[in-house]
């Protein structure tokens, strides 16, 4: 049992102050990072509630239900930003990465406080698997949003499709690492490999993102 709210206040306070003095894209990233951390805390609350309400057990809730909650919670601020502000493609990606990084950072902080940071290999696995996975999931979702918007397909089914992809990917990771042995090694490697694989469509879609930005400027 940890006091997650206190940890959030401790990490968020200096960030909040620094955001006040920042401008432009740095400010945007800082705010989205903070939102990511808040969203992580809220996801934990909802996960805990579902665990108690359904009696699924902590492990099963973490493996089967958490990916759904966490991806929806990360998606909501991003969807709000896209729908209300209609931003440029590059800004969508920036905010998405900020939310993902904030989420992963806060989750890792809580994990380290709970389990300790004595063993470097555990911390490395944690950082390079779960940390990367949160960023990969939301980055893929943001890329899907930019692509869908480009072809005028940013509708409910389009968003539901993008969201479902990030949810299944996250759930697949959780399922793989839930069992010891080969499957967990595959699971740990999955986010990093996907991040490398995502770089290809990212570079390919860079043209689309740049075009999207230029259209906005015109």
């Amino acid at each position: 049992m940890i006091n997650a709210e206190n940890i959030l206040i401790c990490i968020a306070a200096p960030l909040l102050i620094s955001v006040i003095f920042l401008k432009g894209s740095s400010k945007r990233f800082g705010i989205s990072f903070l939102i990511g951390m808040i969203v992580c805390l809220l996801s934990a609350y909802i996960g805990g509630f579902i665990n108690l309400a359904t009696g699924m057990g902590v492990d099963d809730t973490a493996v089967f239900i958490s990916p759904i909650i966490e991806e929806i919670m990360k998606f909501l601020p991003l969807a709000f930003y896209v729908i209300i502000f209609n931003p440029q493609g590059s800004n969508i990606l920036q905010v998405a990465i900020g939310i993902g990084a904030g989420f992963a950072t806060f989750e890792n902080c809580c994990y380290i406080i709970t389990s300790g940071a004595e063993k470097l290999h555990y911390v490395l696995i944690r950082g390079l698997s779960v940390g990367v996975m949160h960023i990969v999931c939301i980055l893929a979702l943001a890329l899907a949003i930019v692509l869908l918007r480009r072809v005028n397909a940013l509708s409910t089914p389009g968003l539901a499709g993008g969201l479902s992809l990030s949810m299944i990917f996250h759930a697949l990771y959780n399922l793989l690492v839930s069992e010891p042995g080969l499957s967990s090694y595959v699971g740990y490697a999955l986010p990093l490999l996907t991040a490398i694989a995502l770089y290809v469509p990212y570079v390919k879609n860079k043209k689309i993102i740049d075009e999207d930005d230029n259209e906005e400027k015109l």
Binding site: F64, A160, L165, I168, L175
Partner: protein, 262 residues
């Protein structure tokens, strides 16, 4: 290892391979004029692919246990919604309103969902899944009525077969074991006949070069019939339906390609 379990795993692996091919191929269609249709279908295939992978991993890691509500259910819901959105993105053709057909489709889906709940007791996922397939079904029947992709006589036969199947499935809760075996077999005959009909109808549409939109509608109808039949099947019949579903994939892709390039 149980033979039916092994065959299910192998069939799912085959489906994963087919989906991977169809997904990659359909992403290449997204540069065409009807890119919206191609994008929605490509997303649907990817969603299906990841759902299948999740199933596969779950089956291998936790064999013999019933999967609780998980993200792959959302993927399956998204699959139906995306296919429906893809069909809606095709330019609308004027035609008679299909209010009656839509009402019948909704009743049919409500009956299906009721059966699923009665079998599994899983309210949430069954209702969610039913809502998404129901959305696709209503879009499909409306478009089929508008375009007359399936003639009125054929539609009536499909309707009778579908509801006969539902009534017989429901009757199995009330009859003795001997009768259950007979009714169960009859249900499988109806479902497999439907699968064969839609498969041949789709194939003939592609070979004869019928209207591209009509052929796409028939192939998606084949998908809906087969997936609903699969949800009503167990054991070896489940594997047969899974295989049939996989074999419909290339037909959907070819129909999609023709429609996008039309």
């Amino acid at each position: 290892m149980d033979l039916s379990f092994l065959s299910e795993i192998l069939t799912t692996l085959f489906q994963v391979a087919m989906l991977l091919f169809v997904f990659i191929a359909s992403t290449r269609l997204t540069d065409g004029e009807k890119k919206l249709l191609a994008v929605f279908f490509a997303f649907a295939f990817l969603s299906w692919l990841l759902s299948d992978l999740y199933w596969l991993v779950y089956d291998l890691l936790r064999p013999g246990t019933r999967m609780p509500f998980a993200a792959n259910e959302i993927g399956e819901c998204a699959l139906s919604l995306l296919l429906g959105a893809g069909l809606l993105s095709i330019k609308e053709e004027k035609g008679a309103p299909a209010v009656g057909e839509i009402i019948v489709a909704i009743i049919y889906m409500v009956c299906n969902v009721s059966l699923w709940i009665a079998w599994s007791g899983e309210w949430m996922q069954d209702i969610l899944c039913g809502l998404s397939i129901g959305t696709l079904l209503t879009i499909l029947v409306r478009e089929i009525k508008r375009t007359n992709a399936i003639t009125k006589q054929e539609r009536i036969i499909i309707l009778i077969a579908g509801f006969c199947n539902i009534i017989m499935q429901a009757s199995m809760f009330y009859v003795n074991k001997k009768a259950v075996r007979f009714i169960d077999l009859s249900c499988y005959i109806i479902m497999l006949a439907g699968v064969a009909y839609f498969w041949i109808r789709s194939l003939l549409g592609l070979i004869k070069g019928n209207s591209t939109k009509n052929t796409l509608l028939v192939t998606v109808a084949a998908f809906v019939w087969t997936i609903l039949s699969m949800y009503m099947s167990t054991g070896v019949f489940y594997t047969v339906m899974l295989l049939s579903l996989t074999l419909i994939l290339p037909l959907i892709y070819v129909a999609l390609k023709r429609e996008v390039k039309a």
